[in-house]
Every structure is written in structure tokens, then in C-alpha cells.
């Protein structure tokens, strides 16, 4: 143990503890900016500097280690002045037009400026602008970037894609697309983790709310909204509202208040996905020699982009089932349009997703199977949904819950867990078991695939089919490890679920941002809880799904199902990883 004094308090910490962590133990909060625990500990911004007796210079609390006998002053005049001065420097190169910034009110820099009582800046403004194609799904603004390097770190260390890198030298050092590529030519999975780890408004998802407003207020157009499972775990985080007022029912009311004509649930099409993908798995599993192994889930577009760019030889291992978002769109513009007797060309499907990659998924040129139009027209992130609520002055705290509309608004417990890592696997196994044996397994039989761990493995016996070896990974770094092990033959699986974002969609790149926090686990628990308390916990028991098959599709993997609910993953191009181009 190391004993030191911080602002007069004695503290004893393990060797190797930073001054920042040591100070926390005695409830002393040292301000930080670039720091992100375990991800970005690079002492770049110098906002966390403190004074330590017997040290010549100020020390960065985020990385400097506590030493025996150290006497630390976190708020000495010298330290506070340096902090404020460094902040002034950063602000001089930052576009401070906060009123026009997507992160206003949720910005680390804004918060620090307020905390530091920054009322003036001695330095002249020197803000750099970049040119950026605003049609990109991901937007980067130089004028907002503070060079904290978190985006580089999360992309390299957690997601192993290295899309961002330090570019330029000297005073012009900047963050840019690595290898001097244009963003559109980069093998970005569009997971959006760089956005959720950005402390300011330098990185954001393209804002598509205006398009949605146009649809809502066009009397000729019928707007059909779907909302993804994981959204319900996070949608109200930016509002001052108790969790009892942030239920899926409250969310349905909020969506209705925005003016959507039909408020549906992607949980419905998640159950549909299980019917198709589960049946596909059983078909493959009982005809093993006809297929490549293992079978991969295909519902995460970040993962699909990843496999196409990093492991193109494995694309045929993906399930051909569309993602729930796209199954919903195709169903809405066919079955549902017929059911309500409207021209599907008048329908606009709007998705609310915890995801950035979903924006690109709906633009894939072959996602137009219902009526020739795009099956899904616009995708909003959870953050955009919250922004729309605010701009419509809808306060979740003042809403009463309501039900989703029928027939595309019913989902089971097996569907809601799509939003957490392991959930798709859990749900698929529940129905696969039923499809083979004709009996339901206990809904909690497959617990081994749950939980926040990045790479999980399990084996389950399905009587009549055999033992199924499954794996679940979330986060693309974990995914890469799994893929490399598969390639080398170190592991063998039958069915693998992959989610690009750590923790699954609950930790998605389109979810609300809380600086310095990773909330996937907590949000995932909300979803597992919804499953636990659901009346129906098996996709194959969703009554509206059964009706859909009975009235329209026939059975899973039927010709009609194939046409509407399955896709060709080779039908669109993805830039290859530069590692494969050599």
C-alpha cells in the first residue's frame, strides 16, 4: 500500500493507483476531459493537473501514480491556473457556438467551462473547419474536435478497426480517417462507438429528424413507426423522469404524440426473425454438409459490414434472414398495406434504433422487396428520437402509458432481449428447441449465453437434433478474436451471435451519451427483466406472428418469406479492410 495526503486527507491506496483514483477515495473530484477510464489514459488535455510537493512540475492526475509520502494539492493556485489556462487554449480552437451544437447540454467541454467560471478567453479564436460530405451517416466536425483521441482509441482498442488516426504533424495534428482515406472509402462498421465516446460535438450521427417531420406533416403520407428493443432501455435517459414513467408503454405514447399514424414495435419483427432464422438454423443443422459452418446471426448491420470488410470469405455463413428492422419494413409495405387497404407507396416506415449502422442498412440497394420502394425509409437514433420529443415539447414525465398498435405491435419476451448481448441466441434457442421437439424448453434454459462478457460459449442438447455448440460475442475486438480462432481452427461452433457494440444494442452507438460511463450492462438488465416479466416468452407463441403466417406468409422459409424476409448479403459493396488489400 502507498500512503499519501491529498488536500490534507490521509489516503492509503494500492501501489499503481493514479492520483485521480486515490483522490476519489477521499471524495475529492479532480476535473478531467480527455480521460476515459481504461480506454484513454494519455494525459493529453492537461485539465487534470495537480500540484505535488517535491515535484518540479504539475502532474496529470489521470496517469501520475500515487507515491509514498506524496503531498498533493488538487486545488492549489498554480494547478487551478494551469487548468484554466489549458482550457482557454482548447476553447480558443473550439467552435463555441453551443446553441447550434448537437451536444449542447451534454458536453464535457461546456460543463468544464461552466465549472471553471470561464467568462472570457485571453486567446484569439483560431477554429479550423474541415470539409465533410454531410451525406455520410457519420459526421465529423473539425471545429468541435478537441483532439482527446478517444475516438482513435475506442476504434483501435475496442473495435480493432482503426478507422481514425492521428494525422498531420506539429500544430496541425488532427484526428482524421487513417491511411489518408476518404471516409466513404473506409471500412467503417458504423458502430458509432466513436460518437458515444466523444466528449464534445465533433462526432455525431447524421441528423434525419427533418425528413421524419416532413413525413409526419404530409397529409398524403401514412407514417408507420417501429422502435427497436434496446431503445426502451434508454430513451428517457436525457429527461428528468423516474424509471416507472419510462416504460415501453410511455414510449409508445410519446411516439404517438409525435404524430406517427401507426406506432409499432420492432419486437414484433424480432419474433419474426426468430421464426425465420431459427427455422433456417434447423434446416442447416439437419443438412450439415450443404452449408458453411458456423451459422452467424445477421441482425446487426455493424457486424454485417464488419464481416464483409474483414472476413469476406465468411459472408455465406451469415443467416440470410433480414434484420428485424428490415423484416418490419418489408412486412409493413406488403401485408400491413394490404390489410389496411392502402397503396404501399404512400407508406413511410420510420425506425427508431439504438444504432448508426441501421441508417446505412435501410439504404442498401436490395432492401426494397415489398413494393419496390425502400422497405424502411428513415432511421432515427435513440438520441434523435429524444431530440424530436424535446422539440415537440413532449415531456415523458407527463405521459400516460398506452399500448402499441396492432397488428405489428406485439412482441414477446424473446424479442425484447434482442437488445442485449446473447439475447438473439437465447430467443433462437428457445424456438429452435420447440421447432425440433414440439415442446417448449424452460425459458431460462439458455442462461449461459447471457451477461456482459465479450465472448461467451455454451453447448445445449436439443433432443432429436443433437448438441448445438454456440458462441456469443459483442464488440468488434472480441469478434475479431473469435473470428481468428475460428479461422485457425482453435474453436468450432454451430451457431454464433455477434453484435458490433460492446454489450449489444443496449450499448449501441445510437444510444444516449453519458460521458465516461458504459451503460450497456445496466440497460441490458432492464431488457432481461422485461423478458422475465413478459406474459409470452417464446417467439413462436406471438399470436400476431402466427396470424401473419396463417394469413400471408404460409410458413417460415416459404417462398413468400424468402422473397420478403431474406436477403442476399452480396447485393451491395463494402470497402475492404486495408489489411486485406496488401
Amino acid at each position: 500500500m502507498v500512503n499519501l495526503t491529498i488536500d490534507g486527507f490521509q489516503v492509503s491506496v494500492k501501489e499503481g493507483t493514479t492520483i485521480l483514483e486515490a483522490a476519489k477515495k477521499v471524495n475529492i473530484d479532480i476535473p478531467t476531459l480527455c480521460y476515459f477510464k481504461e480506454l484513454n489514459e494519455i494525459s493529453a488535455c492537461r485539465i487534470c493537473v495537480i500540484e505535488a510537493e517535491n515535484h518540479e512540475r504539475l502532474l496529470p492526475a489521470c496517469t501520475a501514480l500515487a507515491e509514498e509520502g506524496m503531498v498533493v494539492h488538487t486545488n492549489s493556485r498554480r494547478a487551478v491556473k494551469a487548468r484554466k489556462n489549458n482550457l482557454a487554449m482548447i476553447l480558443s480552437q473550439h467552435d463555441g457556438d453551443c446553441t447550434l451544437c448537437v451536444r449542447s447540454g451534454n458536453c464535457k467541454l461546456q460543463e468544464l467551462s461552466e465549472d471553471f467560471n470561464m467568462l472570457e478567453n485571453p486567446y484569439p479564436k483560431d477554429v479550423r473547419e474541415n470539409s465533410w460530405d454531410t451525406n455520410n451517416y457519420l459526421i465529423r466536425k473539425d471545429s468541435k474536435c478537441i483532439k482527446c483521441m478517444r475516438c482513435i482509441q475506442v476504434c483501435e482498442k475496442i473495435q480493432t478497426l482503426n478507422i481514425w488516426d492521428v494525422v498531420g504533424s506539429g500544430s496541425r495534428v488532427n484526428v482524421g480517417v487513417s491511411l489518408n482515406r476518404a471516409f466513404k472509402d473506409a471500412d467503417c462498421a458504423l458502430c458509432g462507438q466513436c460518437i458515444t465516446h466523444c466528449p464534445v460535438g465533433a462526432l455525431s450521427a447524421r441528423d434525419d429528424t427533418e425528413k421524419v417531420e416532413e413525413f409526419i406533416f404530409d397529409p398524403e403520407i401514412i407514417t408507420v413507426a417501429q422502435v427497436a428493443p434496446a431503445v426502451r432501455s434508454a430513451w428517457a435517459e436525457g429527461f428528468d423522469v423516474a424509471s416507472s414513467k419510462a416504460t415501453p408503454g410511455h414510449m409508445a405514447t410519446a411516439m404517438r404524440r409525435l404524430g406517427f399514424d401507426y406506432v409499432f414495435d420492432t419486437n414484433f419483427s424480432a419474433d419474426l426473425t426468430i421464426m425465420e432464422e431459427g427455422s433456417e438454423f434447423i434446416e442447416r443443422f439437419t443438412h450439415k454438409d450443404k452449408y458453411n459452418w458456423p451459422m452467424f446471426t445477421s441482425c446487426c448491420p455493424g457486424w454485417v459490414r464488419f464481416i464483409k470488410s474483414q472476413y469476406p470469405d465468411y459472408v455465406d455463413n451469415l443467416s440470410t434472414a433480414k434484420s428485424p428492422q428490415q423484416m418490419f419494413g418489408a412486412t409493413a409495405k406488403s401485408y400491413f398495406a394490404e390489410k389496411i387497404g392502402v397503396d404501399p407507396h404512400k407508406i413511410r416506415v420510420v425506425s427508431i434504433m439504438p444504432c448508426v449502422a441501421k441508417k446505412s442498412e435501410c439504404d442498401q440497394p436490395n432492401q426494397n422487396d415489398a413494393c419496390g420502394d425502400k422497405d424502411v425509409d428513415v432511421v432515427l437514433t435513440t438520441r434523435e428520437f429524444a431530440r424530436m420529443l424535446k422539440s415537440h415539447h413532449i415531456d415523458p414525465a407527463k405521459l400516460e402509458p398506452s399500448e402499441f398498435d396492432s397488428p405489428l405491435g406485439t412482441g414477446t419476451g424473446a424479442a425484447v432481449i434482442f437488445g442485449a448481448t446473447g439475447g438473439v441466441m437465447d430467443a433462437a434457442l428457445r424456438s429452435a428447441y420447440y421447432l425440433v421437439t414440439g415442446n417448449n424448453p424452460d425459458a431460462d434454459s439458455f442462461k449461459a449465453v447471457r451477461g456482459i462478457k465479450g465472448w461467451k460459449e455454451a453447448e445445449f442438447a436439443i433432443p432429436g437434433a443433437g448438441t448445438v455448440r454456440v458462441a456469443v460475442a459483442s464488440g468488434l475486438g472480441n469478434t475479431r478474436k473469435l473470428m481468428e480462432a475460428l479461422k485457425k481452427g482453435e474453436v468450432e461452433y454451430d451457431f454464433v451471435e455477434i453484435m458490433a457494440c460492446p454489450g449489444g444494442c443496449a450499448g449501441g452507438g445510437g444510444q444516449p451519451i453519458h460521458d465516461g460511463e458504459e451503460l450497456a450492462d445496466n440497460r441490458g438488465k432492464i431488457l432481461w427483466n422485461l423478458d422475465k416479466n413478459a406474459k409470452i416468452r417464446y417467439s413462436h407463441e406471438n399470436p400476431e406472428i402466427l396470424t401473419l403466417y396463417k394469413e400471408y406468409l404460409g410458413k417460415p422459409l416459404s417462398e413468400k418469406s424468402h422473397h420478403l424476409l431474406h436477403t442476399n448479403h452480396h447485393g451491395w459493396d463494402m470497402p475492404l479492410s486495408p489489411k486485406l488489400k496488401k
Binding site: 494519455i42 515535484h55 482509441q153 498531420g168 504533424s169 506539429g170 496541425r172
Partner: protein, 610 residues
Amino acid sequence: MSRLSIRTKSEAQALVDSMYAGMERRIVSSPNGLCPIDITLNFVRLCQAQSCGKCTPCRIGLGKLAALLEQVLDGKADYSTLDIIKETAANIVDSADCAIGFNAAQLVLNGMAGFEDDFKAHIEHHTCLAYHVNNVPCVSLCPAGVDVPGYIQLVNEGRYDDAVRLIRKDNPMPTSCAYICEHPCEERCRRGMVDNPINIRGLKKFAVNNAGKVPNPKNAESTGKKIAVIGGGPSGLSAAYYLTLMGHQATIYESHKQLGGMLRYGIPSYRFPREKLDEEIKSILSTGIEVHTETTIGKDITFEQLKQQYDALYIAIGAQTDRKVGIEGEDAVNVISAVDMLRGIGDNNLPDFSGKKVVVIGGGNVAMDVNRSSIRLNAEKVTCVYRRRQADMTALAEEVEGALAEGVELMTMMAPVRIEKNDKNEAVALWVKPQISDLFDRGGRPSPVNSEEEEVRIPADLIIMAVGQGIESRHFEEGGIKIKRGSIITGEDTRVAGDKVFSGGDCVTGPATAIRAIAAGKVAAANIDEFLGYHHEISVDVKLPLPKIASVKPRGRINITEREANERKKDFLCVENEMTCQQAQVESSRCLHCDYYGYGSLKGGREHKW
């Protein structure tokens, strides 16, 4: 008013002078991978600040150049901007009144020719090609990429065995390098910005001399592959060492009696004690390397036979043949080559030069080795003749100083013309022609040309030629290996095109340093392993805690001291004294740890395996 006054330096001027000195050190310590245009721009700004302001091209033109370069850097320039820069600079070169102007503009012109790709990237893509690859100066400048900050930290913590193990991950000859490395790692040491570079070689020497017997890592499982290593010098030994660790069977073929190459047959024992060399070779061989000494390829066994017997070959024959000056009388019986003399000494055949006037021709490290050995062999007088200035010598400055202290006479700016012989075909004198410095050559050294002075006669009883070495590559050329000007041609991967033959060290680069030869051996081992279809990784499990925060108050570098010249010149024992523990502690604590501070903590300052 006084008619004249004493010129004194103002306090401000004195301070500016010290800033110049600081800037000079800072420029020397410049990191790699900076934008050359940005550097040019800032040099131009400094030049502009030096302008007296009298003439137009300098006062205004340099500012215009700076503004235009800035446009390029800001991505606001097109190709016409480059034309204006070029014309402006050419005009300043042509019409400025003094060097402050024309020399600055010349710098810009040189840059435009040299950094064409960088200019193009800034103009066409608004991107900079500058790329911080490895910003730890010592590691990036060491040809073998040794983890310098790592072992400095280990020395500081008294973990000498671990220091040796960490070094061996990248360089299996830490002891050799501790004594004789030219330490390119120290060139741009960031500590130089504060005071002076860290004494890296000194700390390594302290580590190896205070470590116990450090066992080698265990070899990987045997692959059954056999590799012939031709030449038992530092490059061959290094390749054989790593190949053996990777599980292959390496066999060294050495034409001399003993292994070590130039470490034994080029470097005298007063610089590198033989027992230390023997110990190091013994340790390397203990991994299980097979050795055939006194076996010459092309005589005892052919290259073709080796190719049939082995899965891969590494040629590391060095550059061991002598070169002639090409003057009249060179065939005299008492004119010998440095190579021959040092080879004899290497096998412990010490000649006696008592009463002899020895003349040594050359200005490189080998010349200094011959000079200093001659002194130790009791020569009456040793004169070193060199056709350029002392400052132009390629020998390390400390070698020249050592030679001078031991009594060697330098005769610089003297070109050998002919050797005067008696009727017994013995040289009696060397005639030299005094030289005068002329224009700079491409390497930035002034070319010597004949001056108007008369030729000078230097009486000599023995003349030793130390004017470079050649490579005995003929047999391999006959075996189909491509040779250019005597050197073997390989790719950057040390592979000889389209063959299972690899080559590295002096026989590829021409006479160079031990560490470059060692690095080539390491590169060859990795690529031979890959060529054979494997991917064995070399790593070490030495744990390094976060480095301590160094004091940045300027303080002196601690140099290794030498034995008194009058004593040391009487024997072949090591000239250097040992560092004390206190010295090693203080010196190692000066390290700024670029592996962690600065870019290191962002991109990682350490390669854990290769």
C-alpha cells in the same frame, strides 16, 4: 564621448546566445516523422528573424515564402502556388545581398525538390504524409529496435539480469554492443533538448557487467528444418541464435579459427576484452548451434552443396578483404594491410614494433584501431596520415581523441603519393602531397585537392593501409547470387531474389557497424522462419512498471572515464573504466521515458514481440 569603447555582450545577447545553443540541441533531438514542409516553413521564419532588413528579397521575400508555405500547409494552395514559391525562392537566391537571404531561399528550393510527394499530398488531398510511426527516438534509431527505455528503467531498478533478457529479445549480443556499439540510439535522445543525451551505451555496459549468468530462453519445439549460416560474425551469430530459438537447426560455417568476425578480427581487445567476447559467443552457442570453423565456402565445401543440404541459407561473410590505396611502392614487404594486422592480433599473434616508425594511412575507426594497437606494440612513433581534416574523419571522435592521448601523431590534409623503397624492396618513407579543402562533396564534406605546397617525405619502417575493406563475394557470384560493386543484392527482407538464400551484414551494406549486422541477422531470422512456413514469435516476459517521473532540471551527462593514457597504452587491457552504481543510478534517472510520456502513452512505446 570616448573615442573607442570595450565591446561587451549585453545580458540580452548572452541569453539569446544560450537560446541558440539550446535550439541547436533541440534540432539535433528532432523526432522522426514530422512534416518536412512545416519544418521548412519554420526554418524560413527563423531566417527571416535574422534579416538585417536592408535588401528587399530578404526583408520581404522570406516573409512571402513563409506565407505561401503556410497556404500549402493549410490546404489553401494549388500548383500555381508552388510555381510562385519556386520563382520567389529562385529570385531571392539570385538577388539577395547576403547569405541571410540567399541561403534561406536555397533551403526552400532544396525542400521543393526533395519533398515533392509531401507538397503533392498537401495540394491535392489537403493531407499531410507525416506519420508518427515510432516516436521513441532511441528505439527508432537503433537498427535492431532494442527497447532502450525499458532496459534503462531496469538498470535504474537494479534488475540487471532482466535488462540483459530484455535486450536479447532484439539483440543477442548485448555485451558486444555494450563495449563497441556506435550508439546511434543516442543521436536524437530527447534528453538532449534539456541538457545532453543519455549515456545509453554506458548504461548497457553497466547492466551486462553487473548481471549474473543469464540463461537463454527455451528453444521452440524442433521444426526439423536446417539452416546454414555462412560467416560467424555478429550477423551470422544473431541469425543463428534467433533461428535456434525458433526451433530450427542452425549451422555456422566460419573460415577463421574462431567465431566473432570483426568483433575479434577487427576490434582490438583494449576496446573489447576477448574474455567478454568469448563469454557472449559461448552463451549464444549454448542454444544448440552447430559450428564448423576453418571451413571456407568455395574451398572446403561449395555453395551449391550447402544449397542441397539445407532448407535455407544465410550469407553473412562480412567485408574482410583489404583495399589498396593504389600508389607506387605499395608492394614493398613492409607495407601491410590493417585487416591482416588486426586478424593476427585477433588470434593472439602480437608482433613487436619496437623501435619502428609506423605510418598508418586512413581516418576511419579501423585506422584508429591500428594506430592505437601500434602504440601498444611498442612502436617508436605512430603517424596517422589522412587526406582530409580531422573533423572529416569517419572514426568516432572519442576514438581519435583516445589515439591522440596515447601519442599518435595526426598528419591531416596529406594525400599519399608514393612509397619510397630501398633496394631490398623495403619501404623507407611515405611521400605525401599537402591538400587544400575545396567544394563540399555530396556527403557534405569538403573535397581535398592538391595545394601549391611541396610534397613531404615521412620516414617509415612500417606502413599500414587502413583505407576500407572489400567483400570476398566471387564464389557466390559464380553460384548465381547477384552482386553489385562487390556487395550482395537483397531485398529489405534480406532475401536474395527468388531463392532460399538470405544475406545481410557488411557483405550487403559494405563495411558498417556491428549493430547493423546484428539487426540484419534478426531480420533474416524472422523472414527465414516465415519463408519456411512458420511464424514463431520472439518475446520476453520481463514486466515493466510505469516509469518514474524524471527530474528535468538540466544536469550533466555521466560519461564513462578511461584509464590514464600513459598506463593504458602499455597493454591491451580495456581502456574504459567501469561506471559506478551511483553513476548508473543518476544517469538512468535522467531518462525522460519517451516510451511512456508524449506519444508513447497514446500509441504505445513498446514492441512486445516480433
